[in-house]
Amino acid sequence: MFYGFTPKSRLMLGTAQYPSPRVLSDAIAASEAEIITVSLRREGAGGAGFRDLIKASGCRLLPNTAGCHSAREAVTTAQMARELFGTSWIKLEVIGHADTLQPDPFALVEAARILCSDGFEVFPYTTEDLILGEKLIEAGCRVLMPWGAPIGSGQGLRHEDALHTMRAHFPDIPLVIDAGIGAPSQAAKAMEMGFDAVLLNTAVARAGDPVTMARAFAGAVQAGRLAHEAGLMGRRDMAMASTPIFGMAALS
């Protein structure tokens, strides 16, 4: 599914903003995620502990280029991440606007082209724009990660109709809803719509009880995926009795 790796879990989890390393470890375990996102920063307190923690999680690492505002910054960050984490996977974020954290589509495609031709396996954080998706695929991306809503906003799937269209437009490309998910019901909805996975962080990390919330998301993602596989019933405008009329007593 993802560059030759098919995880059992369709939930990908971010590792930032947890109240403690212990809670982070327990939340990763409770989420059943097999892919976690990480980043690169100037060394601060607790750096060595974090290295041990991500190793002990046994998860595949998906380093990000969070905070990069130009293709050049993102490419350099990706190159540093490849050496440091020993993986060619990169969650490519090129931010276009500080308030919305919306991707810069032009710089995103430019960076994707450079990285794909340099052997990276790129997971681009993108919008639901179809042409942008096509350009990213032309650049060599084999996964697309459209946003649900702005990063950290918890708004869920802000452009549901457009995401439906995107799913239909790219039937054979793994699509991951990345960012904006605030509640398990929203993750379940994305999975019911046929998205291949969801990636989230703040909704778990900032929950009252992150470990329990991680378990809630694991269940929601699983339920949504099963519902998609089972095939949802069609919507109707009017009621239709579910109990048969045939054989009903004449009591009036």
Partner: protein, 65 residues
């Protein structure tokens, strides 16, 4: 010579990137490096000479979303 290391002005006697990492007590195996915005792979740190005012980034694994 003065260089900028992770955004801080640093006075250094190091002539190369490797020497700077050693001098500053940074954990060489668990960092990635860039000089003036360009990635410097681990194997090229010895051969990367520092120049006055060079901007050096030494990054570590951190939490991310």
């Amino acid at each position: 010579m003065r260089v900028e290391l992770n955004g801080e002005q640093v006075e250094t006697a190091a002539a190369t990137l490797s020497e700077l990492i050693e001098e500053q007590g940074l954990a060489a195996p668990s960092v990635a490096t860039a000089v003036n915005g360009e990635f410097v792979p681990r194997g090229m740190r010895d051969g990367t000479a520092l120049t006055e005012g060079a901007r050096i980034e030494v990054l570590s694994p951190m939490q991310g979303g």
